[in-house]
């Protein structure tokens, strides 16, 4: 609770000021916080957001670039592989006369040479324009087979060139077929057809050593059927789980989702003159790992900065508004003080005026009564003499009472000469206590001094100060029952080059209603005696000495008077 009180400013907790003032300070605080927060946080947030998107974009480029590169390279290798084999067939069909090629023995020699030079060739065959296989070397018994009605034969006869989809062929290995056509001189044509082992060489081309564990490279045909095996997206000749991408003559990179909902980056390329599409699929999550950590750092930075800035703004505003409020309170106190001083000065002038006007008639009453008494005393006994003298004495006593009051009133407002000397306040107060020593011990009242080490002496008027402290301590005694306690503490007020003496009693205290009036002349709470001038005279003296006096009191607990005196009195 105490901690809370320390961090929550007074204007928030609602101490002291009026509702309107509290509202004003809170509004000031809110304005200050929101404005400062706006001007400091807006650029930060904007910069961070811009940075975020730039980073993200850059990261995407960084991410797609190697995939695009890889796709492009692999496409070229794959095209080269097929191109090479087509060229070999072209070379043979143009180099060897038809007669040589239909000769089984010679064709076998060609197949052997080609296996040695290129690898991947499984068989070779010559098909004439009617679709009839004229010669064949390879593991099957295909000589004499009729291809007339097959699609591939039509295509090669039209385009002069053909590359097939992959199929399961000899010994259950994946293969594909390539074929080239040559026009015969005169009329007709013939076709050189070769089966090529699809798995080993193509797999070699498309699976580089440094493939990421999350990546998958494979080939599909235009119907989406896998032409090679893939890691994650199906077995060979199955339908791929990745959809067939749109046609493009160049390698492309695009984002997509598998049927299972995983997002991936797909690099793909259509392989020229074949039904093949090269696919490089990389799971995005793995690629994004870097970006995620950058993003996490960025977000932490933003959150951290915002929290820090807000804290600074909060505390700064609390501090600032507190200072404003302190200044306001100080100003109010000062105004109040000035008002009070003016009021006391007016009362002082009034009091002196009244005292002046009353003193002269009082003097006449005094002399007349005195004369009557003189005459009565000089006269021989007459009836009622004693009674008359008694009454005149009473008259004189009351004149004296009046004059005591007027004299003290004059004292309250008097301009006095101040004799400066160096005064040790402790000695001075102990001297004053000396007058009351007997009463103190009789009533069992203890007096305690609390004086800091090295407390300075001051320049002031001894006699006046004696009266000040005598008045205050007298009042303290009067307020206490037997066994009371008086605490006299002193402290330096370095800021205003002054000292403060606080005299606290454990008496009955002063009620809230009475407290503002106790320095006014004729205000008294004492039941018997007491004209109500003691504290007003004290007030007057302290003011004249350039100091000030204040009071705090709680009914039932006691009263504390604080006298603040300049260390060196300079103004009179």
């Amino acid at each position: 609770m105490r901690f809370l009180r320390r961090i929550i400013p007074g204007y928030w907790a609602g101490e002291g000021d009026s509702e309107k003032d509290l509202f004003r300070y809170r509004r000031l605080w809110k304005y200050s916080v929101s404005l400062t927060a706006l001007v400091s946080l807006a650029p930060l947030v904007i910069m961070t957001v811009v940075n975020y998107y730039l980073d993200q974009k850059m990261h995407r480029v960084e991410m797609t670039h190697p995939i695009s590169q890889h796709t492009s390279n692999t496409k070229r290798s794959l095209e080269f592989f097929i191109e090479e084999r087509l060229s070999a067939l072209n070379f043979i069909i143009h180099d060897k006369p038809y007669e040589n090629l239909v000769d089984q023995k010679r064709l076998y020699a060609v197949l052997r040479n080609m296996r040695d030079s290129f690898g991947g060739f499984v068989d070779l065959g010559i098909i004439d324009a009617e679709g009839y296989q004229r010669s064949y070397v390879g593991p099957y018994e295909l000589k004499g087979k009729d291809y007339r009605d097959q699609d591939w034969f039509h295509e090669v006869s039209l385009r002069g060139l053909y590359v097939s989809n992959v199929f399961m062929g000899y010994r259950n290995f994946p293969h594909f077929v390539i074929a080239v056509k040559k026009e015969k001189a005169g009329a007709g044509f013939y076709v050189l057809r070769a089966t090529i082992d699809a798995e080993t060489p193509i797999q070699k081309i498309i699976s580089p050593m440094d493939l990421r564990p999350s990546s998958d490279v494979f080939v599909i045909n235009r119907e989406g059927v896998l032409q090679t095996s893939s890691r994650f997206h199906g077995k060979i000749l199955e339908k791929s789980s990745v959809a067939v991408p749109p046609y493009s003559s160049r390698p492309e990179v695009l984002e997509g989702h598998t049927r299972e909902g995983q997002s991936y980056l797909l690099g793909y390329a259509y392989i020229e003159q074949t039904p093949f599409i090269l696919m490089i699929v990389t799971q995005q999550q793995a690629l994004m790992q870097n970006w995620l950590s950058v993003r996490r750092d960025l977000i932490w930075f933003l959150v951290g900065s915002v929290v820090l800035i807000l804290l600074v703004i909060f505390w700064g505003s609390i501090y600032m508004v507190s200072r404003v409020r302190e200044a306001d309170l100080k100003r109010d106190a000062l105004l109040h003080n000035v008002e009070y001083t003016n009021k006391m000065a007016s009362i002082g002038r009034l009091a002196t005026g009244v005292a002046h006007e009353i003193n002269n008639p009082l003097a006449i009453i005094n002399e007349k009564a005195g004369l009557v008494k003189d005459l009565a005393l000089l006269t021989e006994d007459f009836p009622q003499k004693e009674k008359i003298i008694k009454n005149i004495d009473s008259l004189l006593t009351n004149v004296e009472r009046c004059s005591t009051i007027t004299h003290r009133l004059l004292g309250f407002a008097k301009r006095m000469d101040v004799t400066l000397e160096t005064i040790n306040l402790e000695f001075l107060i102990r001297e004053v206590l000396g007058f009351l020593e007997k009463e103190a011990s009789y009533r069992n009242i203890s007096v305690n001094f609390h004086i800091p080490e090295g407390f300075p002496s001051i320049q002031s008027d001894r006699g006046q100060l004696q009266q000040v402290f005598l008045n205050i301590i007298n009042n303290a005694f009067a307020a206490m029952k037997e066994g009371g306690r008086i605490d006299i503490s002193m402290r330096e007020e370095r800021e205003e080059d002054a000292v403060a003496v606080t005299i606290k009693d454990t008496g009955h205290g002063i009620s809230k209603e009475d407290l503002p009036h106790i320095f006014e002349p004729f205000f008294t709470t004492k039941k018997e005696g007491g004209v109500g001038l003691g504290l007003s005279i004290t007030y007057g003296i302290v003011e004249k000495l350039g100091g000030r006096i204040s009071v705090e009191s709680t009914v039932g607990h006691g009263t504390g008077f604080t006298v603040i005196l300049p260390a060196e009195k300079t103004r009179f």
Partner: protein, 121 residues
């Protein structure tokens, strides 16, 4: 001992006459006047031991009257009374050479005592 010769100056006639009578009853020779001007006339005619003087009077102020009387009778003593004024005027008067000052209303026994003291010094 010869009776004390006193000049009493105060602008309140009632006060002067009553006080004169009371002092006379106590065997003191008193002349009472109610203004500075009357006082100057009186000091030319007669010597006094003590002048009892009100500080605040219409016309000439107490201190001025005191200075002019002293010029006439250098050895004379002064006892001041202040009623309308205040304490520091009395102090001022003392600095000007007055023997004592009393606050009005005065106690006659005090006044006599102060006068005696003034003369004795």
């Amino acid at each position: 001992m010869a009776p004390l010769r006193v000049l009493l100056i105060d602008d309140e006639e009632e006060l002067v006459s009553t006080l004169v009578e009371r002092l006379m009853l106590r065997g003191i020779e008193v002349d009472g006047v109610t203004s500075g001007a009357d006082a100057f006339g009186r000091v030319q005619e007669k010597r006094f031991d003590v002048v009892v003087l009100d500080m605040k009077m219409p016309g000439m102020g107490g201190l001025e009257v005191m200075r002019r009387i002293r010029r006439e009778q250098p050895g004379v003593k002064f006892v001041l009374m202040t009623g309308r004024g205040s304490l520091e005027e009395g102090e001022e008067g003392k600095q000007e050479g007055a023997s004592a000052y009393l606050l009005k209303p005065i106690n006659i026994e005090d006044l006599i005592e102060k006068m005696m003291e003034a003369v004795r010094v």
